[in-house]
Symmetry: C2
Subunit: 177 residues, 2 copies
DNA sequence: AATAATTATTATGTCTCATAAATATATGCG
DNA sequence: CGCATATATTTATGAGACATAATAATTATT
């Protein structure tokens, strides 16, 4: 029987699947592995945050507000890459639970300043510790050095795109200055 | 004024937020960086797959079916960590588009064997190449060695959890054999 | 003063993932 | 055999995160 050209070096697929499953083209892709690892860490963070009545994006917002008192919803949304309409409901919930305050600016009454309350600050610190612990559980296999290197590699990916969206081939117009 | 205990070494938050935004407790967390990088790669993969009328999970399924002819929906779902009810709609779509065939097993008529069609195989190979190219665009900043190391680190995270769900502290009963 | 731009919001839709319940078939046991 | 139990698939449904269009309030610009 003529073998279809196989673009992989791994063992040839057998006629009917046995109990071991081979991975397709996906295992060699970084994005696939990224997602699998992300699922693990996200589930851990989610479970830890849940104990404080927070979801992960909500905690992220709280965390940035803690660190940037007086930040506006717009700036917060842009920084966390959240669409502003989606941020509204998060901020609403944080305010309702009295974890942050939302005060209208006097110089520009369209804008609001977000500041954390004492209660919010306390909850944040506790949640942050719990999430860090949960993460550490997942990262036992990695030494501190590995961990730092991983973060560095991830940041390279994140930043590469925001700086140079396309390169060399396949764009029509001349590059903007 | 008494400074609240700050659990970070970075610059102290200024009264009202300037144009630079500081990151909270989150930037030091692996999960956060993981997500940011994942968003970049996933968007690239998604855009590439879209040209072939595929979404990322659909492509992943197709890819595993290509590599494991005759695999059952259950095995496929378990392998990709997709819930079976969600896999149904994906398989439905793949079958409707005649990219795969779904044949009932004679020995056990509850089960189905999934096999790729010629058309599906062709589409898969083209899409895989496009997605790989799109990924490569995102990974220009990383050498081949960095890339391999990244995948290795990610796999460690993924596997650490499936092997040793909890460690040492905080579980009540004795470990199963 | 009139127009345009900005901030925040409301309404709405999509995508991914998760759970409960229903159906069809197979297996084990009296 | 007949009945309870288990498994594979499917249907229905909901939650969570993300995205876009339209609106309201305010400010900036002409």
């Amino acid at each position: 029987m003529p073998r279809a050209r196989s673009n992989s070096t791994a063992p040839t697929p057998s006629a009917s699947s046995p109990d071991t499953v081979f991975e397709g083209a996906i295992r060699g892709m970084v994005g696939y592995n990224l997602k699998r690892a992300y699922i693990v860490l996200h589930a851990a963070a989610r479970a830890a945050a849940e104990d404080f009545g927070l979801r992960v994006p909500t905690f992220s917002c709280l965390s940035v507000i803690v660190r940037n008192p007086g930040i506006t919803p717009s700036a917060l949304a842009e920084h966390l890459k959240i669409e502003r309409p989606n941020l509204v409901v998060i901020v609403d919930e944080l305010e309702t639970r009295e974890l942050i305050r939302r005060t209208q600016m006097k110089t520009d009454r369209r804008r609001y300043e977000l500041t954390v309350t004492v209660r919010g600050r306390r909850l944040h610190d506790q949640a942050a510790e719990a999430i860090r612990d949960a993460e550490a559980q997942c990262l036992q296999g990695l030494g501190a050095e590995d961990q730092a290197r991983l973060i560095d590699l991830l940041n390279k990916i994140e930043n590469a795109m925001t700086e140079a969206p396309v390169s060399a081939a396949e764009h029509t117009g001349p590059p903007p200055p």
